[in-house]
Structures are given as structure tokens and as C-alpha cells.
């Protein structure tokens, strides 16, 4: 690896409409985590419990955009991160949550809140605290500009490690030798 940057890079991560599987895969880089923490420090991330994203070098987004809150968080990340990465199938193309896209939103909500077995007199919630869902789940590149894409469901630990080490070392990341997978 080429010499590390003088200061640690600040990295934020989040999961939007995702399952945290990509974050789990991130942890699958195992002992490389020790190398990684020498090079980076975490800002907002499920790993740190920091709630607000601050100025960062790298932002990593798992999951697609399914509701208004996702849009706000994604925009916060874009504003604060010099480099923004789409991590995993859902961020890249909508993934599993986007499988609802061929159903009308009303059908989805009624199915969940009104017709599901065990629900009596259910109503679609209208609490302003709850973010409204978008009519379709979208990949994040349709909402903000994305610099890099790392597909996979999830991307493997080695793929994430290769990608990050490339990036930190100043190389344009490339997934070669079987590291690129869509599933």
C-alpha cells in the first residue's frame, strides 16, 4: 500500500432502505479492521452512534431511497462528504425494497396496516413524525450525485476491503478477480 495520508480520513456510514447486511459485510473484513482504524476515524455511523453527520472525507450509503427521511439523510451526507459511495445492491439499483415498485403504494400500505391478519380497524398512520414513503423506491444516484458504486448483495468483505484500500491510497477503486458481484 502506498503511504497513508498524513491525517486519518473521516468516514460516515448509514443505512437507508437497506437491511444493514452491507454493514455486516463491512465487519467481515475481520482483522483488517485493525489496519483500517489506523487510517480512518468514524463520524456518523451505526458503529459509533453519532447522530448527525459532520464534515467527512468519505460517506458510505447502504440502502435505497424509500421515504422522505431517506432523502434528507442522503442529502446531509452529500453536503458533508467529499466522496460519496453507494454500497450494495439496494443503494445501487433499489434492490429488494424496490420489488414493491410494481405495486401501487396504496396497496402496499393497506396490506400492511389494514388487511394483515390480526389487525382490526387498522389505519394507515398519519403521524407527522413518520416519514412519508415515496411512490417508488429509488437507487441513491437518482437523488444525489454519487461518486463510486460498489454493488453486491452484500458486497463481500474482501470486495469492501479492496475498494476502501484503493480509495484511501488514492487509486481509483476497481473490483477485479471475481470481486464484482451483483448477488
Amino acid at each position: 500500500m502506498s503511504p497513508a495520508p498524513a491525517r486519518k480520513l473521516r468516514v460516515a456510514t448509514t443505512s437507508l432502505a437497506g437491511c444493514f447486511g452491507c454493514h455486516m459485510s463491512f465487519l467481515d473484513i475481520d482483522e483488517h479492521l485493525f489496519e483500517l482504524v489506523e487510517l480512518i476515524e468514524f463520524d456518523r455511523s451505526p458503529l459509533t452512534d453519532i447522530k448527525e453527520v459532520g464534515p467527512c472525507d468519505i460517506g458510505i450509503i447502504e440502502g435505497g431511497v424509500c421515504n422522505a427521511e431517506n432523502v434528507h439523510v442522503l442529502r446531509e451526507f452529500r453536503r458533508n462528504c467529499k466522496t460519496l459511495i453507494a454500497l450494495g445492491a439496494c443503494a445501487v439499483n433499489g434492490g429488494l425494497p424496490a420489488q414493491r415498485n410494481h405495486l401501487p403504494l396504496s396497496e402496499c400500505l393497506r396490506e400492511v396496516y389494514q388487511f394483515r391478519p390480526g389487525i382490526a380497524n387498522g389505519q394507515i398512520p398519519n403521524d407527522p413524525e413518520l416519514p412519508l414513503p415515496l411512490d417508488k423506491v429509488r437507487p441513491i444516484h437518482e437523488v444525489v450525485r454519487i461518486d463510486y458504486f460498489l454493488p453486491g448483495c452484500p458486497p463481500s468483505g474482501p470486495a469492501i476491503w479492496k475498494f476502501l484500500t484503493d480509495l484511501i491510497a488514492g487509486r481509483t477503486p476497481r473490483l477485479t478477480g471475481g470481486l464484482l458481484h451483483y448477488d
Binding site: A89, N93, A98, P139
Partner: protein, 235 residues
């Protein structure tokens, strides 16, 4: 003296009537394709085999080789265009690899890997294309159709059944089956038909056979589509 043309600077011998793609593959040079099949006449719809021959963009599968031509194929420009065509195919359909039985054996996916397609770049169309599960042995998932017409051609020209055809036009073009009901069960389709075994993507799937091969052992888990196709042409 055999005739030859230059493919990315390498001499490729050919016989009269051979296309650029055929001659290249026999000589051990990979030009990608989706709609081309060695047993059928060139189709030329997917455009993945696009090359620059004597300065002009042509489909390598449909263009007869010419003596002395200089053909550009494996260049950043041509591969960039191929990546663009793959991105188009991905956004126009619903290609959700993690839930697709064809994943790991899918030519579209394998080409995505080959040309390092990391994002489908454009706005996804998310078309509404219902699945036809009416047939006892075969499932049709139109979400993944790339309109190569291999099933259309195989059913018509080999199986003699014409089970499939395309209707509609432009971006609304879609596959239909040979029945007034629109259901595959109402055709004479059988799982041993060539048409049931030729789909390069995950549209035509045999029921009760999904996910039989574990991840890691599927066709394109350990081989690139480049190496697989070249092996096929040399055998």
C-alpha cells in the same frame, strides 16, 4: 493464401462469408454478444458486439469480414459503449440479481462483470411486467427480458411451435406467447423444447430446479464469460 483482417492489431484469418465475430472467436479473440447464437442466423439486436471496422461502427455478428480491414474491438471506447448498452438493458427491465434463479449463470450479469458495470447510471424504468406461472414445468419472468429473440427463433425454427413472438413497439415492445389467453399453459410448450433452454437471462426458468447449484460453483462464479465463450468456440 487465407484472407485476414486485423482485430485490435492482431491478424485474424477468415473464410469468405464468415462474420467478424465468428472469425474472431475461432481465432481465440473474444467479441461479446447476447443475441448471437452459433446455430442461428445473426440477429444484431443487442449490439454488444459492436466494433469499429474501417472506421465505421458495425455489428460484428452481422458483418462479413473483409480482407485487410482494421477492426477495433477491445478498446476503452468500444468497451465504454458496451457498458452503456448493458446499462440500458439493466434500467429498462427489472433485473434484481439476488432473487433471480439465473444469477451466476446469466449472460447479462456476466457481461456486467466483464465490462465492470458498477452502476446502471440512468433512471430506472421499473416497468410493470407480470410473471406467467401457468405452465406446469416452466416459469416466465418477463421482468428480465432483453429481447434477444433466441426463444422466438428456437421455438419457430427448431421446435416448430412458434410459442413466442414480440409485440408492441419501441420501449413498449414485449414478449407474448402463442395463445389467445396469453398464458403459457395454453400453448404446446414443453420443458425439453430448445426454446425452454436457450434464454441467456432469467426469463424462461424450469420450475423446481432453482438455486440447485450453490453460490461459488455456478458458471460465472469462477469463469469469466470471455473464457467460457472462447472455450465453446474452440471445442
Amino acid at each position: 493464401m487465407t484472407k485476414q483482417f486485423l482485430l485490435d492489431g492482431q491478424p485474424v484469418p477468415f473464410e469468405d462469408g464468415q462474420t467478424i465475430l465468428e472469425a474472431a472467436r475461432i481465432a481465440g479473440h473474444y467479441i461479446p454478444s447476447l443475441c448471437w447464437h452459433k446455430d442461428f442466423a445473426p440477429h444484431g439486436s443487442c449490439k454488444l458486439c459492436i466494433v469499429k471496422a474501417a472506421g465505421r461502427h458495425v455489428s460484428a455478428c452481422a458483418t462479413p469480414a473483409k480482407e485487410g480491414w482494421e477492426v477495433e474491438s477491445n478498446s476503452p471506447e468500444m468497451n465504454g459503449e458496451r457498458r452503456g448498452l448493458l446499462q440500458m438493458l439493466f434500467v429498462e427491465g427489472n433485473h434484481f440479481c439476488p432473487s433471480c434463479e439465473k444469477s451466476g449463470n446469466c449472460e447479462l450479469q456476466a457481461l456486467g462483470y466483464e465490462y465492470e458495470m458498477l452502476t446502471s447510471r440512468f433512471r430506472h424504468f421499473y416497468p410493470d411486467r407480470p410473471v406467467d406461472a401457468s405452465h406446469p414445468d416452466v416459469l416466465l419472468d418477463f421482468n428480465r427480458c432483453i429481447f434477444c429473440e433466441l426463444c422466438v427463433r428456437a421455438s419457430r425454427d427448431v421446435d416448430g411451435k412458434s410459442v413466442f413472438a414480440l409485440t408492441g413497439r419501441g420501449i413498449d415492445k414485449h414478449l407474448v406467447v402463442n395463445a389467445e389467453s396469453g398464458r403459457l399453459a395454453d400453448t404446446d410448450f414443453a420443458k425439453d423444447d430448445l426454446a425452454a433452454n436457450i434464454c441467456p437471462v432469467g426469463v424462461i426458468l424450469h420450475k423446481r430446479e432453482g438455486f440447485a447449484v450453490p453460490i461459488g460453483e455456478r458458471t460465472y462464479d469462477n469463469a469469466t464469460i470471455r473464457s467460457k465463450k472462447l472455450k465453446e468456440s474452440s471445442s
